[in-house]
Amino acid sequence: MRKCTAANLDKLFAAIAENAALYLPVDDEKGTAQYKKWAEGTVMSNALNTAKSPKDFFFPQSEDLMKFKTQGKTIELTDIRDEKEDFVVFGVRACDVRSFDILDRVFLVDPRDSYYASRREKGVIVSLACSKPTETCFCSAFGIDATNPAGDVTAWKTEEGFFFKANTEKGEKLMASLEGLTEECTEEAVEAQKAKTAAILEKLPLADLDTDKFGGGKTAELFNDPAWAELSRSCLGCGTCTFVCPTCQCYDIKDFNTGREVIRYRCWDSCMYSEFTRMAHGNNRNSQLERFRQRFMHKLVYYPENNEGIFGCVGCGRCLAKCPISMNIVKVMKTVGGKKDE
């Protein structure tokens, strides 16, 4: 384990930024944290998490795939993918780190998504352990340890400064480049913080959230649950939950005609939208109930069914904070399939 004192932090950021673009959470003028590119003078946010998830780094909201032009009978194709430079994302929380694993299981299996894969290869993730979880956090329900996140490098922030531990080859390479600014240290301070945070995690209001009712193979049991109608009744059908979610990975591929050529791009899509997966025969989910159910069944049943029981939710709590009508996965988990204590 290596340590960087608080006084050296800016130098550390500068050193990272020398070799790669460095992104970290920064407070905007209203105090909301968002990932921003580091530049001299950038101050890292103290917020628990960013408003938007870091999935943008690997799976941006919209990206150009290619360009094409027709001339007579020939079509000219141009690959216009944005070859992202090497980059480091600093301060990713445990929940969001898990979300990358979930996205990997979608984009890196056959057929491998080369756009996503290239960004994944170029990005180094420095995670940051939580010390002040909030009431909307429920990552522990999915087996995530907020005090010891994964990532290429794991960081802990204490009053003394930052502590780092490399977990992967990429992480070791990054830490090796920062040797001059960090020093070898014991794990004492980190262990103390872990214990303190663990005690808070136990007290969280959602600490006892139960996932037993869900998982692969539960489709028949849950699909026709009468609770879906009531839960989805007030759903506005907006895309807030899906767009702030770190694991929602549905997209649409569309063409934009500039007048000279056509740009084919892909952008996030939301299963909450009425035109989602619209096909020639029409839509396969015509009511908000069906669309609403799809989102939660996907995260809690269909995804684990295909991915060794891993849930498609990481418990970051963004949808709890952002849903216009405060309907969210926690309310769904507590209602669908009957209450635990009933």
Binding site: F256, T258, G259, R260, I263
Partner: protein
């Protein structure tokens, strides 16, 4: 003189009954106005949806002008009165968003006012040229 100086592209929505005929008259009378004014004929000035205007800017227009019959002379009795309210509100909003107000204009041109049409276009093109390229409502995908 700059070699690659870009001339402003202007989209003029002209109503079929007055302003389009006014443009015709300007042509017949050999009155000069910039060739970069692209006229789009609409049945009435009130056919112009705010989206048309934004789309024009997106696709590379540097200025958008709407020409219709004089108030009171609308072929459909009241169309241009609605245009007047809508465009007043829309242009005020664009100005509020920081988009240069000289890039948008509404002008009433009758079928007899060929000279006014040419003069209006010359003046508008000059003002838009002074502002330069439209940067604030551009769509980078549509740029060359």
């Amino acid at each position: 003189m700059q070699v690659n100086e870009k001339k402003p592209l202007i989209v003029a929505f002209c109503c079929n009954w007055c302003s389009y005929a006014g443009a015709d008259l300007a042509g017949n009378n050999r009155l000069a106005y910039p060739a970069d004014v692209k006229i789009i004929r609409v049945p009435c000035s009130c056919r112009v949806n705010p989206m048309f205007i934004l789309r024009a800017f997106q696709r590379g227009a540097d200025g958008v002008i709407i020409c219709g019959c004089h108030p009171g002379d609308c072929h459909y009795t009241s169309g241009n009165y609605f245009t007047r309210r809508r465009m007043a509100m829309l242009f005020s909003m664009l100005d509020y968003l920081g988009i240069e107000k000289e890039r948008t204009r509404v002008e009433w041109v009758s079928a007899a006012e060929g000279a006014k049409f040419a003069a209006t276009m010359n003046d508008f093109a000059e003002k838009v040229a002074a502002l330069g390229e439209n940067k604030r409502l551009e769509d980078l995908r549509c740029k060359r």
